[in-house]
Symmetry: C2
Subunit: 164 residues, 2 copies
Amino acid sequence: MEDGTSESPGYCGDTDGDYDVLQWDTREDCEVRQILDRVADKWSLLVIALLDRRSLRFTELRRMIDGISQRMLTRTLRHLERDGLVSRTVHPTVPPRVDYALTPLGATLHETIRALVTWTEEHQGQIAAARGAFDRRVAAEQQAAAEEAAEREALAREALTARR
Amino acid sequence: MEDGTSESPGYCGDTDGDYDVLQWDTREDCEVRQILDRVADKWSLLVIALLDRRSLRFTELRRMIDGISQRMLTRTLRHLERDGLVSRTVHPTVPPRVDYALTPLGATLHETIRALVTWTEEHQGQIAAARGAFDRRVAAEQQAAAEEAAEREALAREALTARR
DNA sequence: CGGAATCCGCCACGATACTG
DNA sequence: CAGTATCGTGGCGGATTCCG
């Protein structure tokens, strides 16, 4: 099994009731974070999206995703299966055939995720602009610092030659 | 600066038009994934949620989050600032005072995220059930395999004693 | 074909110390 | 107070090999 997100089943009990915003933010360690990590996983989201069209075999997924290693595909599918987001059905044929499909639960999650994707698409312009502005500001500050350093060095050298 | 999500500004151009689902899934490497990683980041979401109430100082955030290191808080805030989700204002007082606040863009993102949190809260029961069932199945299979192995070993030993 | 098991590189993160 | 700089490390992910 290798790891498996730890076998602790239920709560984490970490919630000390400091602030009320933390009602779902601190306990993120319990449930929300688990799902969030699954969604944000490099491959999970891709698998969910692909399975949303139709059920697929292991090798089909492997080919479609292209950059993925068999190890990661296996792990990803196991995790999704464990969370009840993907169903795994083995056909006892030879050679063996395994089909993966999205469960109803997985389908609703995919819908929910789409909202986030939509948000990103709608605002990616603003984000790109913000990044550009930020990077330019940083570059300008760095250059200013560099010039100041050069000036200080020039002054120091000048003082040195004057002493001789 | 240390890293900075690479300074490549625009597209990734990785999109080979194989399937149409990949229209936003393959190019995830370009924009969607960036935001998703930011959201799924261990601390970013927490910071966004806390700043949704009111603007906060560096140390306030540090105390409220509790498990975070100063390094990670700095990095997180820088990333959020770069993406235009959080604004940073320095008050030229002594001692220095720096306030962080959610930008309008960040606020809309927070709203969008809430949908995902809501989904998780609504379905965490199903997920927990699925995990339980999965783990029990795995445990059962492992035990079955162990018993089978023990039986084989017993047979082998029996055969061995018979040969003497 | 569909995995499981093993080895290993890399970097994300934490702890620590220092600066303005 | 609000950071930057440096070092040490655990774990994630990839490559490879073997199994049913």
